[in-house]
């Protein structure tokens, strides 16, 4: 127990700037996503149990707090996904990507890509709280 706390604390307080932030966010994001994945399998399983029970629980996902939670989750997935690509590039082509300058550049690209995907998705996700439906199928379908 004490050793678990000590090693988690070491992971948080180590001061490694961008590489350290990337690692912490990648780990926290990954864990957050699996946790949600288990919850998500439970709720989709209810589709098979019956229409009434599945729709009874839907009010949770359609509520405002859930939309804020989903927004955080989306950020976690997009960061984890693009940072995962960075890890793959550095590991498989170290001669090209593992020098410090390239790593800095890659980290910046990861942040930009994450925000590029996150910001529009987040706006569409929270818009219904304010009575606006921005889902693309709605906009296109008229």
């Amino acid at each position: 127990m004490a050793s678990a706390v000590a090693s988690i604390w070491q992971g948080i307080t180590y001061r490694g700037k961008d590489g350290h932030y990337a690692w912490m966010l990648h780990r926290a994001g990954g864990l957050g996503i699996v946790l949600f994945l288990f919850l998500h399998i439970l709720d989709i399983f209810l589709v098979g149990v019956g229409e009434e029970i599945f729709e009874f629980f839907l009010f949770i996902y359609h509520s405002a707090p859930a939309k804020v939670f989903v927004m955080a989750l989306l950020f976690g997935v997009f960061f984890h996904a693009f940072n995962g690509v960075r890890i793959i590039l550095v590991d498989f082509w170290p001669e090209k990507f593992s020098n410090l300058k390239m790593q800095r550049t890659l980290f910046r690209i990861v942040v930009v890509m994450t925000l590029l995907f996150f910001i529009p998705t987040a706006i569409i996700t929270v818009a219904p709280i304010f009575g606006v439906d921005l889902a693309l199928s709605q906009l296109v379908g008229g």
Binding site: M1, S3, A4, S7, I8, R27, G30, L31, I33, V34, L37, F38, I41, L42, I44, F45, V47, G48, V49, G50, E51, F54, E55, L58, Y61, H62, K67, V70, L74, V77, F78, A81, G84, V85, I87, I88, D91, F92, F117, P120, T121, I124, T125, P128, D133, L134, A135, L136, S137, Q138
Partner: protein, 140 residues
């Protein structure tokens, strides 16, 4: 490195090398499959459009069924293997380490079965799956 990590990751253990490659290959697959899933549900349709008929209607297509099964299998194996790494990193007591991982694997098997059965065995008319069948047996 803890004793457990050294024992496992310091030895020429083929499984851990496989596990390392697997995280990268499944990650590349998820980049497409998981991100597309999010874009379809959260950007194209929007979560408020989702109800029972929406889900059942999509599963009428075998393509969607196979897509959802791939998403389930890749996400859960990648996520659980990552969780296993995190447990090995932080939980150094042998007993707790094994207990947590055993619980994780049992949960994983149950959830894969739950996720996979519902995709393929639901029946829109009676909406009966394994759970209802089991419940019916006990109700008799």
């Amino acid at each position: 490195m803890s004793a457990i990590s050294r024992l496992k990751y310091g030895s020429p253990n083929r499984f851990e090398a496989f596990s390392w490659y697997f995280m990268r290959v499944s990650g590349a697959v998820l980049l497409l499959v998981a991100v597309l899933h999010l874009l379809i549900m959260h950007v194209w349709y929007g979560v408020d459009a989702i109800d029972y008929r929406f889900v059942v209607g999509r599963w009428a297509s075998p393509l969607v069924q196979v897509y959802d099964l791939a998403l389930l299998l890749f996400a859960i194996t990648h996520g659980v293997n990552g969780t296993r790494w995190v447990i090995d990193d932080y939980i150094h007591s042998r007993g707790w380490n094994l207990t947590l991982k055993a619980a994780l694997y049992v949960l994983t098997v149950i959830f894969i079965l739950m996720g996979a059965t519902v995709i393929f065995t639901f029946d829109p008319d009676t909406s009966t799956t394994a759970l209802n069948t089991v419940a019916a047996v006990f109700a008799r």
